[in-house]
Subunit: 232 residues, 2 copies
């Protein structure tokens, strides 16, 4: 196995707790708009609409940022739930993806990792969104990398390759950290080292996704446990 | 004037003192190799070779990173000075561009600026090089942006435009900070707000470059003075 020089992380679910943050935002929407709804179902359906929407966006000739994609999928989800929200409230929900709380281990884990490794994000979120999220949570990585820089979305192999290249690393020198098996399978296909982070509370169920079956896989309970295993 | 939302900075000379750091590196080269030379002249000539070399590189079909450009110009400069250095010493000099000290006001000035504004780099150095330099100096920006992300070099207008776009800003919402008039002229041409930072010791002469004559120009003695003027 090549020695790791850098680790990059998926963002939503892996570094930040999008669900509890978005539930708070949606509760505010409910209060202000007076609309009764199963807001948890709205939030979960919205998040579920995201991977297929990115897959469709990947096939479009012009790259669109996550705000644009989320605006569109929110419209669909609200329609499906029979909810009619004023434009200002819709936009507030879209902008709430800029105020997601990190998991408690995210900041201390990343600080430990960066003592020995270059740390980065590798998200389908665009650079401006990621910068806002890092500033909101008051934590840091060395490099804010995004699928935007490859003008595509994960799991396109070009996204993982571009991250390694921008960090001046061979793919096998870069670890990809994610709570999602599909992300790691795509990263490993390109040669990145898969680092699975269990996030049993991502969907509020207490059940983490199953780790993928990949050579060299490291499985960690959180980022501090990952730092332990990487000798940081 | 539009309200600024972000400030991005030129790197070499504006944020880091390349000259005194490279003089230290070159003195080490002299000691180890036993070659007598006017090392200050070598370092200065090497740095002077950089803008025309980037201008030539811009016209090539394949983008090359700064390490590659610096390797080539170092060879030329050493030949001109009649110096024959072993390959390992040449490479050490190229890599010394990863260990440049920030100016004393750089870290505290950027910390003040980022209380209110998104901060970034906007350098002809590639992302991996900038990440190493930030880690070396132990300071930070919100976004490590580079001409590499536009696959070009400053003063190509696409570099400045891509930075504003990646930060989700209109050009006039982004300030470009630099100690070099040409950089600011090119940035202002695209609509960025020019922020001139005096660096009288960049060339060890005590004389800063003259600020350009541009509408809306802010002139600062250092980054703390810039933070004062931007209300940070």
């Amino acid at each position: 196995m090549a020695e790791l020089r850098a680790v990059v992380f998926d963002f939503f679910g892996t570094l930040v707790d999008w669900r509890s943050s978005m539930l708070t935002a949606a509760a505010g929407t409910g209060d202000r708009s007076g609309r009764a709804a199963d807001w948890a179902a709205v939030v979960d359906d919205w998040r579920r609409a995201y991977p297929p929407a990115l897959e469709r966006a990947r096939r479009q000739p012009v790259w669109r940022d996550l705000d644009a994609v989320q605006r569109e999928t929110l419209g669909d989800v609200l329609t499906r739930h029979g909810l009619d929200l004023p434009a200002v409230e819709r936009e507030r929900l879209v902008q709430a993806w800029r105020r997601l709380r990190p998991w408690p281990d995210t900041a201390p884990g990343l600080e430990r990792l960066r003592t020995r490794l270059v740390t980065g994000t590798l998200s389908n979120g665009h650079v401006a969104l990621l910068v806002d999220l890092l500033r909101f949570g008051g934590w840091r990585v060395d490099a804010v990398l995004s699928a935007e820089l490859a003008q595509s979305y994960k799991p396109d192999p070009r996204v993982y390759r571009s991250a390694a290249q921008l960090l001046g690393c061979r793919p096998e020198e870069v670890g990809m950290g994610a709570a999602h098996a599909g992300d790691l399978e795509a990263a490993a296909e390109v040669g990145l080292r898969p680092l699975f982070v269990r996030r049993p509370e991502e969907w509020g169920t207490g059940v983490a996704e199953q780790p993928p079956d990949l050579p060299g896989l490291i499985v960690a309970d959180d980022l501090e446990h990952l730092a332990d295993q990487l000798g940081c």
